[in-house]
Assembly symmetry: C2
DNA sequence: GGGAAAACTTAGCTTCGGCTAAATTCAATT
DNA sequence: AATTGAATTTAGCCGAAGCTAAGTTTTCCC
């Protein structure tokens, strides 16, 4: 399918999709949530949502929020596929550090032709996961399931496997990589700090060290 | 250097550079020439040239045309470098057919980060020529010299080496590749047709065939 | 159930980079 | 030197996508 949408519209669709996907249950996404995610004013979000509605990519009910239509979801997934394939390619083929691939992919995703998409996917062996453990949508729009539990949800003494990590903050990524918290790693929750205090964890590889993770960090790690 | 210019401005700078480069002697480039090259109205070109002048990237004299400043040339060369490195990379690393790399590079060139540029250049061994034989500007703005003689300028019986071919028309490229006229090939001008008629050439590799090239085709091939 | 606060939309403005139509300037020929 | 035709610029418009400020709605709490 050819994307006839502008980069800005694609960003909105992607944002709505991400918010829907992260939400515990289905339902419309608020204008503010979209605006915040994109770093844009609420007024701008309203305008674009109205436009996307008129294009049939979104169903927007004033004051109620918006939901992707099938057509809108299809485009969103295509952009996400571009993004994650690019991240994977940049990391594997070009050796771009894993905390930087996100920013690169963010611009390239809007410009990747179908031919290049296919070529890259084939070269990588049609991967299902990107370097941060996020599922890569298939060409048909299928999307591998992913866990919704974060490290922060873990209880004392629990052992979990890291499935994916949030990729939008390079600093978070660098820190997590530094302490060995990467997709596939085994982590043990040694002890929860008081209320919102740090979480103490031990990474299987480095059984000697106990690392303290802030809530922000622990919530950037999904486990299974 | 970081490009703070918009893609549109970069396209104008690149167009001016290309026209200056192709011109037999130095001097300002006409508004119309720029407009035609970009497929844009003359009024649009006037506006952008005025803006580029106010940014110090171009010196424009009303009704007289425009010339790149050093700053403008630097940006133009950087975009050209992006373009040609990308063409080379797409062809070599991703196996994109040589008649299609131009179109892909045309969008990617505006979005290539410095890091990726360096990475790609290093992976390719800092090439000096792209797949069509065009020189790739260095990071310092240096540019290998290139021939201005086309196959069309050749006389009866002359033997020449193909240095580069025009890359903007996929059909031309496919045809030239089909008859073996690619950078590095040896070609003999068997006979010039009447006035603007076809040029008959023999390609060294395939000494049995004589190919007829229209003027348009013969002028899309530079030789040395 | 009434208000205040929060969420959302509307109105109106800005910048970009196009466009057409109407001047204007330049060049070339008579 | 005047005139005509080509090249160029000016004027004014458009659509994207952003913004702020000023309304509306909705929600939530007492």
């Amino acid at each position: 399918m050819v994307l006839t949408t502008t980069p800005a519209a694609q960003d909105y669709l992607k944002a709505i999709h991400a918010i829907e996907w992260e939400a515990p249950e289905p339902g419309p996404v608020s204008t503010t949530a979209v605006a915040e995610r994109l770093g844009v004013s609420a007024a701008s979000a309203t305008n674009m949502l109205k436009k996307l509605d008129s294009m049939g990519l979104v169903v927007q009910v004033p004051y109620r929020g918006a939901e992707l239509t099938d057509a809108g979801r299809k485009i969103a997934l295509e952009v996400v596929r571009h993004h994650r394939l690019l991240e994977t390619y940049l990391a594997e083929a070009l050796g771009v550090p894993w905390d930087e691939v996100h920013a690169e992919a963010e611009v390239l995703e809007h410009v990747l032709s179908e031919r290049l998409e296919d070529r890259i996917a084939a070269l990588l062996g049609n991967p299902e996961w990107d370097p941060h453990g996020h599922p890569i949508p298939g060409k048909d729009g299928s999307m591998p399931a992913a866990s919704r539990r974060t490290l922060w949800d873990g209880g004392d003494g629990e052992r979990v496997a890291v499935e994916r990590v949030s990729d939008d903050d390079p600093e978070v990524l660098r820190y997590l990589a530094g302490v060995g918290v990467t997709p596939g790693a085994e982590v043990e929750v040694v002890r929860r700090g008081p209320v919102a205090g740090p979480l103490f964890v031990r990474v299987a590889d480095r059984a000697d060290d106990v690392e303290a993770l802030s809530r922000e960090l622990a919530e950037a790690v999904w486990v299974s």
